[in-house]
Amino acid sequence: MNKTIKALGLALMLTTAAGGMALAQPTEVRIGVALEPPALDPTAGAAEAIDIVVYQNIFEGLTRVDQNGAVQPGLAESWTISEDNLTYTFKLHDGVTFHDGTAFDAEDVKFTFDRILAEDSVSAHKEFYEPIESVTVIDPLTVEIKLSRVVGNFLFDLGRGDAVIVAPESAGNNANVPIGTGPFAFLQWDKGSRVMLEAYGPYWGEPVSLSKASYVFIGDTATMINALLAGDIDGTNNFGQEALEVFEANPQFQVLVGTTEGETILSTNNTKPPFDNLKVRQAMAHALDRQAIIDGATYGYGVPIGSHFAPHNPYYVDLTGTYPHDVEAAKALLAEAGFPDGFSATLKMPPLAYARLSGQIIASQFAAVGIRLELINVEWAQWLEDVYANKDYDLTIVSHVEPFDIGNYANPDYYFGYDNPEFQALIETLNGTTDDAQRKELAVEAQTILANDAVNGYLFELPQTGVWNAKLTGMWQNSPIEGLVLRDIKWTE
């Protein structure tokens, strides 16, 4: 009988939700985040988890993106742009120091961009900065950047996590001990558990009100709920939508629902048969029922997209009707493509709730048209290695969180393997255009090409649903760029 009792104890998965709040710590904040960054150098990796910790907290760029997506001065207090839009002259802030005490000056700016553009560059997005022809130090506080061609979005690109300014003394070690100029300095990283930052006293800008911030890595929703309820963490920037209800009615918490730049897509390996066949991709697009996916995976908070573009962007055009949900049309297209009985494929899913849920729903929707999916759960490092780097996949689901990242489709070596010279020429024209009306026209055309080519399965724009202690203010409701900016967060009574 002893065994029975033991078995009972093992089988009952009791979740105890401890009530009550920990003592308020008016200058320290603990934030739960789902993913642990693989490293802490934002100039050497594509993972959003890196920027969540370091962007605008530890590292700063010449410009910064604010919570409305607008470009603000960063380390450069002002700039002038030449008539031909090819020469940018930046006036740098005085008295800025890195966290190791070394001074920041124009040489660091030059070093940063030379490093991004070097042959052996580790930048995840060298293409944004590739038009830079030269970076010239005029005096210690003035730097001039010359472009080889006009780049419409250049100031925004300078504000990305990929272009934060690093020092030659510390750049090599930033992956483990990041040293930047931001309001927070790196304190320690307990691998597998948390990263801690502390306010940097000599910070050049407005002082921040937090003295300490820690990012606690909590992978699953149930643990996150308990951590929030028990007061182990003070908030999270993106909480699983399935359990938002728990906090919506609780006065101790506030729920912030906003938008992100995360186009969640069913990424398709366009170089691999049968996905190199347009008819197959169109059939898959017809097989998708977006509303069901949005309801099932985001509990209705996601916004449907028909191409790779964020709906809140002024250049957005609604293309969700390009290939409406139509099982018969999908079957007919598959038959035309030579797969009257469908085919089998694998779907690799990274460890994110939206991906795992969407995957199951899509598998069910694809089964209805005869496409049999084998679902494979992969860990994040494995995903970055197999899918993103080695392109060893059929289908995968992931959110592309970088702003204005439609340009990735112009890179035939990107993991989609989409190689369309017409599109590449279009993006080049778009990048070289500064007139807003023209840019919009080109952006709409680019979105339309992707939608018609059904390059990937376009699912929804990822919502940002933050849950925070009701006494905290200053969190970003929307996420126009990947990051979790601590600058304005403070406790109120």
């Binding site: 089988a11 149930a222 209800e245 709730a353 494979i376 759960n377």
Partner: protein, 279 residues
């Protein structure tokens, strides 16, 4: 045979186990709804005439999921027990029949495997070859091997000293024949009892592995996987956690009661108050 039925716990346990096995078997040919069928608009329904146990977060019928999940659990546990019996019992019998260095090797091997908990072995295997039901079976099966080797050896040792075994040996039977003809039939009852206990542990192990994402993968389902899917919503939809949780509890209780009853009923030596021979 009458004495079998004089144990009420055995009867209840066996019947309950058989009911669960029958439900699981039934899921192979019929479930109220196909379990892969996702239908978002009908999710989170309360139990009703249409959906006996309601529906889950993806609109799948809970009754169908439990049926199918119970079958997965039984299947994984049963195959794992078969692996344990198939490898462990011959090892144990060999140890008892040959003795000496053979026994030493077998015992050290079982010590070695015992040193690793099943979950660690499973994590190792799934890290090497990826998650999946088959890997869960292998991991749990490996864990079962030393258990059965020990039980078989212990049981056989106590029988090997009896006169009829000595008589067989005098008649010229070799070690292998003695093990096969005389030892094995006499430890059958022990093995059956141990089998039911390992079944229930196997079901728990499968649920545990699926719960941490190393066992059964969607769109197939198991009770552990259902728990995992539902845990994020425990505070809002506790029902989704309770159903698979209770199913696991009931199956394990049924198996344990049946096992305890079988032990009492089958082994005459137990009733004579000498349980040490089983150790």
């Amino acid at each position: 045979m009458n004495r079998l039925w004089s144990h009420p716990s055995l009867v209840i346990g066996l019947i309950a186990t058989l009911v669960f096995v029958a439900i699981g078997l039934l899921s192979l040919v019929w479930t109220p709804y196909p379990i892969e069928q996702i239908d978002i608009p009908r999710r989170f329904l309360a139990p009703s005439a249409e959906h006996w146990l309601g529906t889950d977060n993806l609109g799948r019928d809970m009754a169908s999921l439990v049926m199918s999940g119970a079958w997965t659990s039984f299947l994984v546990a049963a195959i794992a027990v078969a692996i344990g019996v198939g490898v462990g019992v011959p090892l144990g019998l060999a140890a008892a029949a040959w003795g000496g260095p053979v026994e030493w090797v077998v015992l050290r091997l079982t010590d070695f495997v015992f040193a690793f908990p099943a979950v660690i072995v499973a994590i190792l295997i799934t890290t090497l070859v990826g998650p999946g039901a088959v890997n869960a079976i292998v991991a749990i099966g490996i864990f079962n091997i030393p258990v059965f080797a020990r039980v078989a050896r212990g049981g056989a040792l106590s029988i090997a000293t009896l006169d009829f075994v000595a008589a067989g040996r005098l008649a010229g039977l070799g070690n292998a024949m003695i093990a096969w003809r005389h030892l094995l039939p006499n430890i059958m009852s022990l093995l059956i009892v141990q089998g039911t206990i390992q079944m229930s542990l196997g079901i728990l192990a499968e649920a545990g592995l699926s719960y941490i994402g190393l066992g059964t993968q969607p769109p197939a389902t198991s009770l552990g996987l259902m728990l995992r899917d539902a845990q994020g919503m425990f505070l809002i939809h506790p029902w989704l956690t309770l159903v698979p949780g209770l199913a696991i509890v009931l199956i394990v209780i049924a198996l344990n009661i049946a096992g305890d009853g079988l032990r009492d009923a089958i082994d005459p030596r137990l009733r004579q108050g000498n349980p040490n021979v089983l150790a």
